[in-house]
């Protein structure tokens, strides 16, 4: 029953928060209780064990479950230490809707159901008030849905071997379009609310979605593992290069953060593309970093970005070091594992990735400065995010064990 509850309770919490909008305290309390119930169900679910209470077999993998727990922790962090101007009940309602969708994606038994959940989430996000036109907000996810569905259809059709190769290309392209990475960058408006912007696709839903799609994709076209790997690594390198350079050179501070997510996704895609355990571990640590550190720091930087108050205090330098993946933060462990994995597969690739890692320095300094001088809840939040990242960096093993790696 755990997967059903992991989906149902956060969804109910989100609905309650939306229904009780006129009474923010009641909305917050109800949503928090139901959300905590959902997180408990996620934590208590046994990876790989299917449950069919609703007539559909639902099961979560250990990797997906670990990222779901990390996403829930990130949500709790940003809601508990939300910036002063942000309404917590609204943030919680959006976060729980996303969490319910992620749980559904993680537990879905087939790629088709994952695609349908993505479509539902996209419509839900696009239907709310935002600065981008409705059709523009749906364009990226709908394109992703179409490409993924066509790829799945190609994989299932009998015919020449080129069909399964096309399916592999389509599955990677569709995933990239859903995430909003290169070459399918979603249109980004710096002033738009985070919940309705493309950031949740990259920084919140994306990690679970990527793992779920790749797991189902490998089952669909088991003979095309090499094609998958090559495509993922190629896309990863492209995103590393483009994301880090654009994050450094772009004019807008919020856009720089958007590109920095893309650069991190480059690392994660490279790790997922390497068919060795170290690569998977590296990708998982990068995804933990995106969920638990980069996303919260982005939210806390928004006010400072609006007020244009960059700062060079030690806290900003620490945040920059964390974003750049220096020791002892999680990014460092991830980079070491990635280089080790790449060396096992093909050492020149490790050389290319190693050189690419230098590109993180300049944009990370810029992003660290953009946090301004954190005060009050924001300062606590930055402190917690940094501490969490150090803990994962120093002791990655328990977090990797949680994911079964």
């Amino acid at each position: 029953m755990a997967p059903e509850l992991a989906i149902g309770l956060p969804a109910a919490g989100s609905l309650c928060a939306a229904a009780l909008r006129a009474r923010p305290k009641a909305a917050f309390a109800t949503a928090a209780v139901l959300g905590l119930g959902g997180v408990a169900a996620m934590t208590l679910s046994i990876p790989g064990r299917a449950s069919a209470q609703l007539g559909i077999s639902l099961a979560m993998s250990a990797e997906s479950r670990s990222l779901l727990i990390a996403a829930a922790a990130a949500l709790a962090l940003v809601v508990a230490l939300a910036p002063v101007l942000v309404e917590r009940a609204t943030l919680l309602a959006w976060g729980l809707a996303g969490l319910a969708g992620m749980a559904a994606i993680a537990a879905a038994p087939s790629l088709d159901l994952i695609i349908l959940v993505v479509l539902a989430l996209a419509v839900l996000q696009a239907a709310s008030a935002g600065s981008r036109p409705f059709a523009t907000r749906l364009r990226g996810p709908v394109f992703a849905v179409v490409v993924l569905a066509l790829a799945a259809a190609s994989a299932r059709g009998d015919g020449p071997p080129i069909l399964s190769r096309l399916a592999a290309v389509g599955l990677v392209a569709g995933l990239s379009a859903a995430l909003g990475t290169m070459p399918y960058i979603h249109r980004f408006e710096p002033e738009e609310r985070t919940a309705t912007s493309p950031i949740p696709w990259m920084g919140f839903i994306g990690p679970v979605l990527a793992l779920a799609v790749l797991a189902r994709a490998r089952d669909l076209v088991p003979s095309e593992g090499a094609v998958f790997g090559a495509l993922m690594i190629g896309l990863g390198l492209l995103n590393m290069l483009w994301g880090s350079l654009a994050s450094w050179r772009t004019e807008g501070g919020a856009s720089a953060w958007h590109y920095s997510f893309m650069a991190d996704w480059g690392l994660a895609l490279c790790g997922l593309g390497l068919a060795v355990v170290d690569g998977q571990r590296a990708a998982l640590l990068v995804l933990y970093g995106i969920l638990l550190s980069r996303l919260p720091l982005y939210l806390w930087s928004r006010q400072s970005l609006r007020e244009k108050r960059p700062n060079d205090r030690p806290i900003n330098l620490l945040a920059a070091a964390m974003l750049a993946g220096s020791a002892p933060f999680a990014g460092f462990a991830a980079r070491v594992l990635l280089l080790r994995g790449a060396t096992q597969v093909y050492w020149p690739l490790a050389l290319v990735i190693g050189l690419g890692l230098l590109l993180w320095l300049a944009p990370s300094l810029r992003l660290g400065r953009s946090l301004g001088l954190p005060r009050g809840r924001q300062a606590w939040g930055v402190g917690v995010a940094l501490t969490l990242n150090v803990v994962i960096g120093l002791y990655p093993q328990p977090f990797l064990l949680l994911a079964g790696l």
Partner: protein, 177 residues
């Protein structure tokens, strides 16, 4: 074969229409085509879910959006070419490139997915986007029927629910922003 053709014709109307009647007709034809194909595949319950979701979405579409049919407004030549070209390409792939039984299902799915994707990428108003999303959800569910092992009714129910939900979406603002 008639069901697959009805699906293509429905997608054709969705691609070429701007008015609520044209969009509703397109969605209704697509729904009928998919319902028959799923029914023939032996999934009666799933066919019911597709029919219910698509029918409600079509009726709701009649109530919102631009007045009239709006089929082939000025400047829609490229869309006309797209609709015919996508149909021919899907026909070739489903009958010649792909082999084995189920060519009609493959044609219906491929043509609908491709045309809905192309329509979503073009300059489009909110009512048309929502119609595209409803048709797309049904297409994804029906595409799951191409698997060797039956997907069960869950994708069809999910798609029906999405089509129902989409028909209830109110897009605020002049252009949906």
């Amino acid at each position: 074969m008639a069901a697959a053709f009805a699906t293509w014709l429905g997608a054709f109307f969705i691609v070429l229409s701007e008015g609520r009647r044209g969009l509703a007709l397109g969605l209704a034809l697509t729904t009928i085509g998919f319902t028959v194909l799923v029914w023939i595949g032996g999934e009666q319950l799933a066919a019911g879910a597709v029919l219910l979701g698509g029918a409600v979405a079509s009726i709701q579409r009649l109530r919102r959006g631009r007045e009239g049919w709006g089929v082939m407004p000025p400047g829609s030549t490229s869309r006309l070419v797209l609709a015919i070209g996508a149909g021919l390409l899907a026909l070739w792939i489903s009958t010649s490139v792909m082999t084995g039984p189920g060519a009609t299902l493959r044609f219906a799915v491929l043509t609908s997915l491709a045309m809905m994707g192309a329509r979503a990428l073009s300059d489009i108003q909110p009512a048309a986007v929502l119609t595209v999303v409803a048709a797309l959800a049904l297409s994804v569910a029906v595409a799951s029927g191409m698997a060797d092992t039956g997907p069960g009714p869950s994708p069809y129910f999910a798609a029906g629910l999405i089509a129902l939900g989409v028909s209830a979406v109110r897009v605020s603002g002049s252009d949906g922003a």
